[in-house]
């Protein structure tokens, strides 16, 4: 065991010493800080959009749209009478970035509810805001037409319903919203995919290095090949854990510093409070970790075997393709998974060991998975890890001492049987 420990330590220390490790360790928090600064800037008013309302109605509805938008924090609107060449000159202003966009209202608004918005950037928030203003105006104008006082209409519209969203998951009701669930499941899937792929490939290149630089002969005269492979996989795994840890800690630190950052940017502390990490329940975190470790062990054993059966980078790149494709299946299913985590498709993916490391945490995070299913998924993954590691270790054992041409499928089968 001390020998495996030595391999783990070497793998860890040498990898952490590389420039790349620190570049990616620093890049994570820098990106995160960027997001925080961007969001605060946005709330301070950097995001105000200037739009024109082109009015071709016979009742000055354009002016009334502007009035409806007067309270908006995001949109500053000005009414323009329609005329020949107006649309063209406004389009030029948009092109020149002096105007964000313009809304065209005509008499048909009242009959069909239709209006047109042209802009350089059709942001979700702006469109939403415009649509709400137009809706309010439509209701108001129509009710006025039936003799209702405008003040009454305003009063009637002043109260808006808010829907408090609660999720029932595994017998408990939480305050998580649908959007949060989706975003979290998506982030989990991407993180898992990236980490398994990146660190799995690391294991492969490390095996390949030992083979190419002829170090392996000395190593296997002291270590059993399985000890060597185990040490490598665990060492690379520890590096990725360390990387995650750096990211997690720096994210927490940045979040706790959001108030001073907001002040420095001239925003109020209240604006800063809106920025928060999604609340991740402990159980979800545990499932995430368990399946990250499981998926990593499963895939890095395969990557180790690929490294062992290749003699150079090109060969390894080719030989790793089947393994990468296997992982890609989960990646390509992420959208489907997050949209409907309780479909038969999603259920199948969370049982099959090669996709479950990504599919199961996603389904668990979205609350559509019970303890029973989780258990089945874990057991299947554990069985697969043992089986795949056994096969990979046998390929590894023979492969690391082989040089020359890449083995054929038939030879691989013989290695495993030997």
């Amino acid at each position: 065991m001390n020998k495996v420990w030595a391999v783990i330590r070497r793998e860890f220390v040498e990898r952490v010493r590389t420039r790349w490790f620190w570049i990616s360790a620093i890049l994570g928090p820098v990106l995160f800080a960027g997001i925080i600064v961007f969001q605060i800037k946005q709330s301070v008013g950097g995001g105000v959009r200037n739009i024109a309302v082109v009015d071709s109605t016979s009742h000055d509805y354009g002016q009334r749209v502007v009035e409806e938008l007067a309270a908006s924090k995001v949109i500053r609107a000005t009414a323009v009478r329609s005329g020949p060449g107006v649309v063209d000159s406004l389009t030029k202003l948009v092109e020149a970035k002096q105007l964000n966009g313009f809304l065209i209202v005509s008499d048909s608004l009242l009959e069909t509810g239709r209006a047109e918005f042209r802009a350089s950037n059709l942001s979700f928030q702006t469109v939403e805001e415009l649509q709400r203003a137009l809706n309010r105006l439509l209701v108001k104008v129509r009710l006025e037409g039936r003799g209702v006082q405008p003040a009454v209409v305003d009063w009637a519209q002043s109260l808006r319903a808010t829907l408090e969203q609660k999720k029932i998951a595994r017998g408990r009701t939480t305050t998580e919203s649908a959007g949060q669930t989706f975003v979290m499941a998506y982030i989990i899937a991407i993180l898992l995919f990236m980490a398994i792929l990146l660190y799995g490939v690391n294991v492969m290149s490390s095996v390949l290095e030992e083979k190419r630089d002829r170090i392996v002969e000395v190593l296997v005269s002291s270590l059993r090949p399985f000890q060597l492979m185990l040490g490598k996989v665990m060492g690379a795994g520890a590096v990725s854990f360390f990387q995650f840890l750096i990211w997690a800690v720096s994210a927490r630190v940045l979040i706790s510093l959001r108030a001073p950052i907001a002040r420095a940017l001239g925003a109020s502390a209240a604006d800063a409070q809106n920025i928060a990490l999604p609340h991740v329940p402990f159980a979800t975190l545990a499932v995430f970790m368990a399946f990250f470790v499981g998926g990593f062990l499963l895939y890095s054993a395969m990557f180790a075997a690929v490294g062992a059966m290749s003699s150079n980078e090109q060969e390894a790149r080719q030989a790793q393709q089947p393994v990468t494709y296997l992982l890609m299946i989960s990646y390509l299913s992420i959208i489907g998974l997050t949209n409907d985590p309780s479909s038969t498709f999603a259920k199948t993916l969370s049982v099959v060991p090669f996709t479950s490391p990504i599919a199961t945490p996603v389904r668990w995070a979205s609350g559509s998975m019970g303890m029973g299913e989780l258990g089945v998924s874990l057991v299947m993954l554990a069985i697969a890890i043992v089986g795949v590691t056994w096969v990979a270790a046998r390929i590894y054992r023979v492969g690391i001492l082989m040089t020359g041409k890449r083995p054929t499928m038939k030879e691989l089968v013989r290695w495993v049987r030997a």
């Binding site: 020998k3 030595a6 070497r10 630089d213 002829r214 002969e217 005269s221 270590l223």
Partner: protein
Amino acid sequence: MLDPVVLDRVTKRFASRTAVDALSLSVPPGTIYGLLGPNGAGKTTAIRMIMDIYEPDQGTVRLFGDVSGGREHSARIGYLPEERGLYPKMRVLDVLVFLAEIKGVPRKTARAKAIEWLDRLGLGLRRLSKVSDLSKGMQQKVQFISAVLHDPELVILDEPFSGLDPVNRQVLLETVIDYRQRGKTVLFSTHIMEHAEQLCDRLCIIAQGKKLVDGTLTEIKQRHAGNHVSIAFDGNHGGSRQIFADQRLVSRVQDSGQEVELELVDGADPQEVLRALVQSGARLARFELGSPSLHKIFIDLVGPEAAAADPVPPAGQKE
């Protein structure tokens, strides 16, 4: 005391050929044992089987009287493989500590020993350099240190002197002799007979996977003594060529320029050859009767074809 290494009719086949064919040998404790043979004779394969890197197809390898394989005894064995390899991006000291750790040496001890050895072999100032920044010869010395750092009872060196300049070769040679004097056992392979002659107590010559001869150096020389003359010239060869061509006297000539080895016809008198040489005007530095050089025995045994394909190899050349 048991012999540290015993091979009993060990055979290893690869797809198309038999690399080692029913090889038996035994290395007594406290000796320097040479495994000699031309390129491709099966020396490295035999050593890899001893080290438990290859499994023999037939026969048994016994280390310290035990058949469980080299890896089980890795703490008692030091190994310098023929294909040298160190982590190129690691620091010299770190590599040595790591390689000792996987042999079970505690980290601290490994560190102290590594520094001691690096100083001894003149690499003390390079301990924090990256391996890839060292010259080939330095890397080889580092690799040698990794084989002896844990003070093993048995050291197995596969072609330890190839690729070293004369100064470093001498340093390594002395280290090996010093090792034997401390009661340790050394098994090494080479195809350069001068090294074997200088070092070996016992040796075994193999070709095409088969053993041709083994025993102590003296035994082997006696066995192949014959009617043998070894001559060294001092510049002027005189009429030596005609004398060597005289088939009534000389049956075989091994001509290396300034040095010539002759095998005389049965019953021929070596004194007659000496007289003829002196009369022909040749100046002699040495005229020696009796034991042939290991080089000569080797070539006689292995055959001139294999010997011709066996010049002193360039650095790092493999079998």
